[in-house]
Amino acid sequence: MSETENYGKAWQGDDKPYAASYGKLMMWFFLITDTLTFSAFLASYGFSRFKYPDIWPSPEDVFTHFPFLHGDHPLLFVALMTFILIMSSVTMVLAVNYGHKMQKNKVILWLSLTIVGGFMFLGSQAWEWGHFIHGDRGGIDTQTEYVVHVAKGEELSSVYSLMGVDGHDGHHHHFTKEEIVLGLENQSEYNIRKANGEYLTNEESIKYLKKNATKVLLGANLEDNEYGHRLFADYFFFITGFHGFHVFSGVIILIIILINVVKGTYERRGHYEMVEKVGLYWHFVDLVWVFVFTFFYLV
């Protein structure tokens, strides 16, 4: 074959240097950009954490609850969420695998289970957010912007316990800093833990709060965060929220694909590559969670 003939052929688009279809390639390129977005999120989280190394809240003091269980169970709930997502990744691979074998009914089965897994994860995340927003121990903001917590000796207690109310009774509580100081004066077994983890004595706590306290924080939002530095809550909402948004759009796309599978669209097309492409996206969501799990909850 002469040079000119080869040249002409290349421009007809017959060459497939990657041996992958257009759609699959574009999905991969999209995932690269998404990888960089999430990397930037987690890197900036790391930046803030390294900027405030001694006052950054410790995740095991923040995420301690498990539905229907009392007491502190750090990591247990996120471990469950991780399990749900890994499991839904497995059902997704199975769906793709049966797609290759053109077994429509099995694709329907495993795709449906993947969607169920996605909804379970979203439900867990809603619960987690609800708990984070409602708050757990309460905190006291100080002029230096750092949040201090109520303790009993060398152990973390809560604003609710100091004030003698139940924090989970469904009422909307509100306390002033004067009430907290009064509570500390009347109950000498309580004291505070500073943002850097240092426990003060009861008298020191009263003096410290009278000098520095600005307001009592219950729960977390984009402005106030009872757990510690407000950036911690901001990153929590943005990173897990952006990931949750990916899971949500993944579930929607999976449902659309499932409808197509049921209608027999891919059977007629002769291949189930669309299931494979959505599968790539779904595994990517799992992949991001693996990193969020490590950098938000473990490290």
């Binding site: 930046f47 405030y52 990193f291 473990l298």
Partner: protein
Amino acid sequence: MSEENKGNWWIWKVFWILLGLTTFEVLLGVFKPDFLNNTIFLGTKLLNHVFIVLTLIKAGYIVLVFMHLGFERTNLKWTILLPAFILVPYLLFIVLSEAGYTYLML
């Protein structure tokens, strides 16, 4: 290895590996062995380095097996992986090393 004939065992193998690594991570996170928790290496606890290595292993299994990248052509594999391998460590290096200099600047 042809898609059609290899069955499902490899999927479940990866599932058990991912589950095992995650369980191990959670156990380390709950019990925090003193040696790993108190040794500082490269600005953070040795325990955190263990977490990061385990995470990268999990990520490798997801990308190479579940996302099938391990079975794609070599040039496709590197087109996907190289941008991440170059840009992400670069970003982390810049951002994390600069954070130390902004310490307590309000």
